[in-house]
Amino acid sequence: MISIENLSVKYKSDSDIYTAISGINLMVPDGGTLAIIGPSGCGKSTLLKVVAGLIPDYEGTVHINGEEVNPKKQTIGFMPQNYGLLPWRTVYDNIRLGMKIKRAPELLDRKMLKKLMRQLGIEGLGHRYPVELSGGQQQRVALARVFALQPDVLLMDEPFSALDAITREEMQDIFLKLWHKFNVSTIFVTHYVEEALYLGQRIAVLSANSGNISMILDNPLFGGKDIRQDPEFFAMSLKLRNTVKKDWNQAWEN
């Protein structure tokens, strides 16, 4: 479980203080997913980084399974926007990197790792370097890396945004499959309404200029079969889009 209470982050520069996010309250139940949607510059990456343990200077509390965020104690799988693969490591070494750092080679034995790679369709690519892969393949490797860790929480920053529309949908399905299997509490940030609706059990809309949450929505469509074809899905995404738009427009006018 991830619980965030009254979280604020301020960036200090030499001359002034800038508030990135303020007064955020969020909860992700065990094995749940939360989508955070918001325009660029609204602080959604900041929020994700706090949960990832990358920003230690924050006010409020952020707990993972009842304990304060600490990358040394918890296993946090963080997938940055550009996949975060090391260009000088082969696919296989990149996937094993997390286990190596956690000093936990027993987490996933060779057989399981192979199985995971096969599920992701990258079993033949182990000895290649990331530059030799397509964007979609790199994304798969990044997914293999975080899931191989069997993390306490999974955090994804604009996970599938660099992919073309068809590959993106394919990756979303692969993600859901793995998520069902490993049952990891997940927070992801996106600016696609459809992605939020498809992958988010719960959706939080981050306001454009105040840095807090303007709406939290329990997604009734989540987990349904072929919901992308469902007229309800269109209706919901339109509704969500309009709400978000209104919220962001208001922010602009203020």
């Binding site: 980084k49 343990g53 990358l54 990358p71 926007q81 000088w88 190596k100 750092i101 530059v131």
Partner: protein, 248 residues
């Protein structure tokens, strides 16, 4: 591919030797002997006279190089990874970098004597600055996001060093050594003309004073080959250690 590249190198060697040969024929003076005679002479005297000198030179350059790596690499890493360290060290490095190190040779000889130590230290001084600057810049060029997945896993500095800092700066580090090595060999030649009876610099100047041009040329050829061997070794290491750069 590898064979073809080797062919081109061989061709270049043949062409350069041919030019030397033609110039020697045209000029027809003892100061430019024909390459054929130089090679003959080299074959005759290498084991007996030159080998020991080349080993001395090789030792000095390798020792200076290793010293520069041992000092320069940690300094570059500290300056590149910790901005605060850079703030203090960068002015020192930048103010001392442009000082022509060779001009410090008299001081070094007074401080460390005319023997090996001052020569090795000279080579160290030439190479170390390039290593520091290259490693620092190499590390600075790493995008911050590269560290995020490692930080969020609670990676230690050791992890960060071996997984990111070292592999990311290695290509720039090797390039710096390659560039600095050319200067270092010239400087080595110069330092070996003082206070020693061993080394290629001594051998070449001694042959010159004895007006034995054939021996002098043999020495020049050996010193050049020494440089070539060092260069190709470094190239080989780079190809092997940074093979990820040559993909795609």
């Amino acid at each position: 591919m590898g064979k073809l590249v080797g062919m081109w190198y061989l061709l270049a060697a043949v062409v350069l030797t041919a030019i030397w040969f033609v110039v020697a024929q045209i000029v027809d003076l003892p100061i430019i002997p024909s390459p054929v005679r130089v090679v003959e002479n080299l074959a005759d005297i290498f084991m007996q006279y030159i080998a020991i000198h080349s080993l001395y030179s090789l030792w000095r350059i390798v020792a200076g190089l290793l010293l520069a790596v041992v000092v320069g690499l940690p300094m570059g890493v500290l300056m590149g990874y910790f901005p605060k360290t850079d703030k203090f060290l960068a002015p020192v490095v930048y103010l001392t970098y442009p000082v022509p190190k060779i001009a410090l040779l008299p001081i070094l000889m007074l401080l460390f004597g005319v023997g090996d130590l001052s020569k090795i230290f000279m080579i160290f001084l030439i190479i170390v600055f390039q290593v520091v600057v290259a490693v620092r810049d190499g590390i600075r060029a790493i995008p911050t996001e590269t560290y995020y997945p490692l930080y969020s896993l609670g990676a230690s500095f050791k992890d960060i060093f071996f997984e990111v800092l070292w592999p990311a700066s290695l290509p720039k580090f090797i390039t710096a050594i390659r560039v600095a090595l050319a200067t270092a060999i010239s400087v080595l030649f110069f330092t070996e003309t003082f206070g020693t009876q061993y080394g290629m610099g001594y051998f070449i100047m001694d042959a010159w004073l004895r007006v034995n041009y054939l021996e002098m040329y043999s020495g020049i050829v050996v010193l050049s080959l020494l440089g070539l061997i060092l260069f190709t070794t470094i190239d080989f290491i780079e190809k092997y250690a940074c093979d990820w750069q040559y993909k795609n």
